[in-house]
């Protein structure tokens, strides 16, 4: 793990160094060429050093670590070919441009085979030199950028594996530990109560694990774009009504008043029916579970014209602590359990929600009403607006008017 972090730091450092003027070393036994190249490249704003023999040039490369080297192929002592191979032993990302008076196809091919980026035949005018250097540096930038992206992808993959491993193992470890201790527990009236309590906890943790696995499968479907492929016109109205009906008893048991403000007409959007159902089901059930006794839950759908529908789910519950809000849309975030709280978080829903169709609005009163559950508002878009606008947080100007909020409070 450390090795990878070091590599990442090296790439970041390299990227940072790229902001400064590029460093170029010119090596040519012809002092006139050295001087001319240095002058031309300095004028371009690069930092330039020039050397008239291969050995001194190589020493400078090791010490100064340039981004690009311009080297003559035919020199007494250490020639251009040897410079190329020794430079790439030292740092394969240094771009090498070869210049020579003996320009033939064979020498060009040989130099490229040895790892040169490009080839410039003598005599050359300033413009081709400027161009080849610019292209060489751009090539280097792209290589570094691509390497960085590759490492970021690798890092995300590793985090994903470790995160899943941890998420799945935590309940298993707890159950295993309970069972291990239960094996050693002697029989007595006190231990009988403990035994029952722990077995009950084991059953709960296993149920939690099953739920986690289901969640991951849904998320995997979302990540594989299966849900995207299954998008079709969906009427949100019957989905919301159905969900609210199914939780009527649960809400009544908690003393929570359900309020629905759904329009007469259909609320057609473009999305994945199952995922939209899961999304609103989770929002609504969480708004009941995490509400305060005797609280209120409001669900509204509002066609905005142009085929958009704004759906708001609002409750009078505990809300989401400030410190966790910025993580809400992170791929594998689950809100941890707070002190004394019995129910596990279900942060995965936000990520799959983002893949299911709607755009999310930043809950409007987080700052002002941190102790309350703010309305989660999302806009579901018609087909022709998708997916170009994907991934953007819905702008505040599209939120339902403020007077609508008063209904929720």
């Amino acid at each position: 793990m450390q090795q990878r972090e070091r590599e990442q730091a090296a790439v970041d450092c390299q990227a940072g160094a790229e902001q400064a003027p590029a460093k170029i070393i010119v090596i040519d036994d012809d002092s006139a060429i050295c001087l001319a190249c240095r002058k031309i490249l300095l004028k371009e704003g690069y930092q330039v050093q020039a050397y008239e023999d291969g050995l001194r040039g190589l020493e400078a490369i090791t010490a100064w670590k340039p981004e690009l080297v311009v080297v003559d192929l035919k020199m007494p002592g250490i020639g251009g070919m040897e410079v190329i191979s020794r430079v790439h032993e030292f740092d394969p990302q240094i771009v090498i441009v070869v210049i020579t008076g003996y320009a033939t196809i064979d020498t060009a091919v040989q130099a490229m085979k040895c790892g040169a980026y490009d080839f410039l035949p003598k005599p050359f005018a300033p413009d081709p030199l400027r161009l080849i250097v610019r292209r060489g540096l751009e090539h280097r930038r792209l290589v570094i950028e691509s390497r960085r992206h590759e490492m970021e992808r690798e890092l995300i993959k590793r985090r994903f594996v470790s995160f899943i491993s941890h998420q799945l193992q935590s309940p298993l470890a707890a159950v295993h530990q309970y069972l291990d201790v239960l094996r050693h527990l002697e029989d007595s009236p006190e231990t009988a109560a403990k035994r029952r309590e722990w077995l009950e906890r084991c059953v709960k943790r296993i149920a939690e694990l099953e739920e986690l696995i289901r969640d991951w499968l849904t998320l995997a479907k979302a990540e594989e774009r299966v849900l995207v492929a299954q998008r079709c016109p969906v009427d949100l109205r019957p989905i919301l009504e159905g969900i609210l009906n199914s939780y009527e008893q649960m809400a009544a048991a908690e003393g929570i008043r359900l309020e629905a403000r759904l329009p007469e007409q259909a609320c057609l959007v473009w999305g994945n029916r199952h995922c939209l159902h899961v999304l609103f089901d989770n929002l609504i059930v969480n708004a009941i579970k995490y509400n305060r006794p005797g609280g209120r839950l409001s669900v509204s759908a509002q066609p905005l014209g142009d085929g958009q529908v704004a759906v708001a789910v609002s409750d009078t519950g505990v809300g989401i602590p400030e410190k966790y809000r910025r993580f809400l849309f992170e791929e594998f975030f689950r809100i941890p359990r707070e002190e004394g709280e019995a129910k596990p978080g279900r942060g995965w829903v936000w990520r799959s929600a983002a893949r299911s169709s709607p755009k999310w609005a930043a809950p409007s009163r987080w700052k002002a009403r941190s102790a309350w559950g703010p309305p989660f508002t999302c806009a579901c878009w018609p087909r022709r607006r998708w997916p170009r606008a994907a991934g953007r947080i819905w702008s505040r100007r599209h939120e339902p008017k403020r007077e609508d909020d008063s209904h929720y409070r």
Binding site: Q2, V161, S162, S165, H166, H176, Q177, Y178
Partner: protein, 139 residues
């Protein structure tokens, strides 16, 4: 009950894991304290000066345990307190496993979850200079 005269602090956000571990340690003669996160653990450790700490790694923050260990090491009164890491971190995938001997972790021992209780208790006793003894029943 504290026949060994030693106190062990469990820092773990999984209440079930700590609940299962605590009686086994108590049955082995230790006084057990529990904390749900690194911050609470550090606070409790400053007050109670435990003889040994059992530390989880991934708590409310992904690397909370690592930072908590560093805090312990920076606190003069706790710098020498032995810390055993108990974690399911990366254990299932060999390539991701944290090397138990990793010096940068600044811990004393690494146990993967679920923990082998006999081995854990024996290692604790050895580390605290108590006579190694087989764990008695937890009843």
């Amino acid at each position: 009950m504290n026949p060994s005269g030693k106190t062990i602090l469990i820092i773990d956000d999984d209440a079930d894991f700590a609940e299962a571990l605590a009686p086994a340690l108590e049955a082995a003669g230790f006084r057990v304290l529990r904390a749900r996160d690194g911050h609470q653990g550090l606070k409790l450790a400053k007050l109670e000066a435990p003889d040994l700490v059992l530390m989880d790694i991934i708590m409310s923050e992904r690397t909370e345990g690592f930072f908590a260990i560093q805090e312990f090491r920076r606190t003069p009164s706790l710098a020498a307190t032995p810390i055993f890491v108990l974690s399911s971190l990366y254990d299932a995938v060999a390539d991701f496993r944290v090397a138990p001997e990793a010096a940068w972790l600044a811990h004393d021992a690494f146990f993967s979850k679920p923990v082998d209780l006999d081995k854990l208790i024996q290692t604790i006793r050895e580390r605290l200079g108590l006579n190694a003894a087989v764990r008695e029943g937890t009843g």
